[in-house]
């Protein structure tokens, strides 16, 4: 077994442990025996374990994976260390679309959330593409345009929430990203998207490795570079958008996870992708577990906790790539 497989396996074990811990901990802590029993045969604590904590944990894992893989794909294609779905306006666009949908039709089926969020994310990406198409932007400039667009779209979300005041925890989802009140109804709409897009992104891994040699070299080696760019960016867009559709924009995961993964396993995408997915899942799950347990029964939004970690790292990256 290679060092990298060991690393991935230990990451996976850590995720399982964290998930168990997250099932035990909460406003009402449960003994592990009760948790395991309830998982298998239900019982008195069925609501807390199976209906409340379990779906929320699974969503945290899926969303973390989705955001992380989206970040790997974006950074791989744009070859920009600062590229990630939330810094490029995609998350804010998807959030605005999903939030508007729910405020206008509160009773609409959750199945509509991912496609509508996708439309929002796609529109935001299109605006950024149009703003940058005249010249090849530097990484910092691209990030700057993305942040400006994000700020504008986020203020649209704020405005909507002022016009249609809702319960504070639900509002937090769209303001900072939170898993509050997420349950099985939110998990199912997410699943088909991730089941198709995650394997598809793994399928692109080898071509992404070649793309890292530069567009010209990759093309000379027989990679259909335009096709690859389109496929990878659309997948990245969709993964980020559907994640945001369910729990808002949990910031910086798409930026942090790929960087951490590269630090751990090098630059080959067949390793970076699964590793980043694990890191992303661990990040969101630990953020949400902390969010539930720091001051129970009060909840903090998970997005706030990832931002505490992510914002300084973003500043570090800006500093490091000053020369761009």
């Amino acid at each position: 077994m290679t060092r990298h497989t060991q690393l991935l396996l230990s990451g996976f074990s850590l995720l399982i442990l964290l998930a168990l811990l997250s099932l035990i901990m909460g406003a009402e802590p449960l003994p592990i025996k009760t948790v395991l029993q309830t998982l298998i045969e239900g019982g008195e604590e069925d609501f807390i374990v199976n209906q409340y904590r379990l779906p929320r944990i699974l969503i945290a894992i899926l969303v973390g994976m989705g955001l992380a893989i989206s970040g790997v794909l974006t950074q791989g294609i744009i070859r920009n260390p600062l590229a990630s779905p939330d810094l490029m306006g995609v998350s804010a666009g998807a959030g605005l679309a999903a939030c508007s949908l729910l405020l206008i039709w509160p009773d609409i089926s959750h199945l509509w959330l991912p496609p509508v969020a996708l439309l929002g994310g796609f529109s935001a990406a299109l605006i950024i593409y149009l703003l940058n198409r005249w010249h090849n932007p530097s990484p910092a400039r691209l990030a700057l345009v993305g942040i400006a667009i994000s700020a504008f779209l986020s203020s649209c979300i704020n405005f909507l929430l002022v016009l249609h005041p809702i319960e504070v925890n639900s509002a937090m989802i769209w303001l900072t990203g939170s898993l509050w009140g997420r349950n099985w109804d939110h998990l199912w709409p997410l699943l088909p998207w991730l089941i198709t897009l995650v394997p598809f992104s793994f399928y692109l891994a080898w071509s992404l490795d070649l793309f890292a040699l530069g567009e010209e070299t990759a093309g000379a080696l027989g990679v259909n570079t335009q096709g690859l760019q389109t496929a990878a960016l659309l997948s990245a867009l969709a993964l980020a958008s559907v994640s945001v559709a369910v729990c808002g924009s949990i910031g910086f995961v798409g930026l942090l996870a790929p960087h951490l993964a590269r630090l751990l396993v090098g630059s080959r995408h067949k390793l970076v992708l699964p590793c980043a997915a694990l890191v992303g899942a661990l990040l969101v799950l630990s953020a949400d577990t902390l969010a539930r347990n720091l001051a129970p029964p009060l909840e903090l939004p998970a997005g706030l906790l990832t931002a505490i970690l992510g914002a300084p790292y973003f500043l570090f990256l800006l500093h490091r790539y000053k020369g761009y």
């Binding site: 399928y203 080898w206 490795d209 070649l210 890292a212 040699l213 530069g214 567009e215 010209e216 070299t217 093309g219 000379a220 080696l221 027989g222 990679v223 259909n224 590269r262 090098g266 630059s267 080959r268």
Partner: protein
């Protein structure tokens, strides 16, 4: 045979190549020479398909290259750009195995045959001992050999190299030119963009001379390399003597 017919390429609004017709002799080493900005790199990009031609076509054995799929084209013709991006944290062996891309099925990894080709390419470039080293930790000369090994693993009939000697010291330039001759002896047709005119004459069988996007001359060094040509193309006053070692023309600037 690789032939270019009436090729014109526009780039950023202005025409970079104008009505260029060139045929690359098979089984030979062809040097592409001309002053900076004469369109040499653009020509290679047009041949590789990374730049679209405004008019004209590039064909290989009578077949239009744009009609071939990306992978099929990459099985017949390889090209090493002037400054490929060295990826971080990739080993030499991994880089060389990228050369096998045109032969891989979408899901399959490297076959025993692919691994054998990678092994051979490493051996032919003297990189076997460095195979597990990271490409970004190599010296300039070693790194260029690693790129050449990748091209060798691609195993194409035609090999196009864009200024492969530019960032190398003289010893490594000679080493690389000799490697090019070795590749040619094993049956490859090579097109090499070079700045050193004496190296072009010494190591290459055929010269293509370009100026301002147009063809000035194409033939063997003995036939076309003279002081009139140097004056016309490079605005250089020089005398031509016989290179006593290679018995090829050689220029000495005045």
């Amino acid at each position: 045979m690789l032939s270019i017919e009436n090729l014109s390429v526009d780039y950023a609004g202005s025409s970079v190549l104008r009505d260029l017709s060139i045929s690359i002799p098979q089984g030979k080493i062809t040097a592409l020479i001309g002053p900076n900005g004469c369109g040499k790199s653009t020509l290679l990009k047009a041949i590789s398909g990374s730049l679209k031609a405004a008019t004209g076509k590039v064909s290989l054995g009578g077949q239009d290259l744009t009609q071939l799929s990306h992978k099929k084209r990459a099985r017949r013709l390889s090209i090493l750009p002037q400054s490929p991006i060295t990826p971080e944290g990739i080993s030499v062996r991994q880089l060389v195995s990228f050369g096998r891309n045109p032969y891989l099925s979408p899901w399959g990894g490297l076959s025993p045959d692919d691994l054998q080709k990678v092994h051979m390419a490493l051996a032919d470039t003297g990189l076997t001992d460095l195979a597990e080293r990271r490409v970004d930790s190599l010296s300039g000369g070693q790194r260029q050999r690693a790129w050449i090994a990748m091209i060798l693993a691609q195993d194409t009939e035609y090999i196009l190299l864009d200024e492969p000697t530019t960032y190398l010291d003289l010893t490594h330039q000679i080493e690389l030119m000799e490697m090019i001759q070795k590749m040619n002896k094993s049956g490859k047709t090579l097109v090499v963009v070079l700045h050193d005119l004496n190296q072009a004459c010494r190591y290459c069988d055929h010269l293509i001379v370009m100026k301002k996007g147009q063809l000035v001359a194409q033939d063997s060094p003995h036939k076309i390399f003279n002081s009139t040509l140097l004056k016309q193309v490079f605005a250089l006053n020089a005398i031509i003597i016989n290179d006593p070692v290679a018995n090829k023309p050689m220029c000495i600037p005045l």
